[in-house]
Subunit: 228 residues, 2 copies
């Protein structure tokens, strides 16, 4: 489903270049559950933004479902972001003037769901993350972990086959983090959704079936998780 080939990403800051990705290659099959780990600043979010069609590499290629993403036009990329990918952002990226419910409904607006269906699926997703009684709160009226859970609910509610979760549990207590991991496992095993998740916690990384590790913009390790 996802193939990255020798990806490079360099940011130019005047006379200094920051090499965020220095030649990353790997592939992810449909139905996989992959965890990505690595030190702060090692390039994980940069990679996720490229896979999520939110950013373009400086070099190398990215194929999504066999199509070379760098060859696609802006409206085709927008379609991919709307229909194919559900993104849980590291900074949540909720719209501040909308309620939790409206934030969760937003991706479904594009997907042809009726207004009734959107509201039902959004309330269901909020219930799954334990926030049905916060549906009408705006982001500033929610705790940090609650905002993170709304971002997770938003990625769940539309039916995107690929879920990209960038540090989905950084603001959650241990118990809630495990619930989120079990939820991802269920989506992966029962609903066949492909999941790529960035996490800093080795225990949570092992809910997936494969763990890759980044350092300084390069993949340095790739191992299958022995299910135990």
């Amino acid at each position: 489903l996802v193939v990255v080939d020798n990806l490079h990403k360099t940011y130019s800051m005047g006379d200094v270049d920051v090499h965020a990705l220095q030649g990353v290659s790997f592939s992810v099959e449909r139905g996989e559950f992959l965890s990505i780990m690595g030190a702060s600043g090692s390039g994980k979010s940069t990679l996720m933004n490229i896979i999520g069609c939110l950013d373009v590499p400086t070099g190398g290629r990215y194929f999504l479902d066999g199509r070379d993403v760098s060859r696609l036009k802006a409206d085709q990329l927008a379609d991919i972001r709307k229909y194919t990918i559900g993104f849980v952002f590291q900074g949540f990226n909720l719209l501040p003037r909308m309620s939790a419910l409206e934030n969760v409904e937003l991706p479904m607006v594009y997907n042809g769901f009726s207004s009734t269906e959107r509201k039902e699926r959004a309330m269901e997703a909020l219930k799954v993350v334990g926030l049905e009684d916060r549906a009408l709160h705006q982001p500033h009226q929610l705790s940090g972990g609650q905002q993170q859970r709304v971002a997770i609910a938003r990625a769940l509610a539309n039916q995107a086959p690929l879920i990209l979760a960038d540090e989905p549990t950084g603001n959650l207590d241990t118990h809630t983090s495990e619930e989120v991991m079990n939820l991802f496992c269920m989506l992966n095993r029962e609903k066949g959704r492909t999941i790529i998740m960035v996490t800093h916690e080795p225990d949570l990384a092992r809910y997936g079936r494969r763990v890759v590790t980044f350092r300084d913009g390069l993949l340095i390790h790739d191992e299958k998780v022995m299910s135990g």
Copy 2:
């Protein structure tokens, strides 16, 4: 240094009331290192905002250094926030149009440091958190963990006697998190700074000497950490 007495905080949302704090009482001595744990939404950030003089309780009282904070005027509260308290926010709260260096210098502008001293202390703080080569980046040019470390550096650089850290390691890998904890220990033991830290991770909570636990707006547990 910090005494809270039967603190209540209620948010009114039309016909529904959210009781974020339901009668919280405890005290923190000068020189203590206290960790606060509890589930997402249990009231930790709400308490931190009151202790940090950023919010007012609906009921109960808060004494800082013996003074009833609810009796103070706006400019006295502003002075406390500038000189007495260093705050690491859960959402980092960096100013987007300023560089990392300028963000770290900002609290020192009020404290009578000369422009040369501010720059030196800010670069030193950035070096301590491993970001001296990111000094000129703006927040959007930094990774999530790097933004969090800039927020930590900002609380370090000015010499506030009370440090309030709301989830300072949520976006940091294990190794960097431990470095931050060791840094807090050093500030506490060698420089005598009082530290109140919210964390979700039991291992990190034990770097402090006392752990209190919240549930549903109430303190349910308070234990000394046996140093080991």
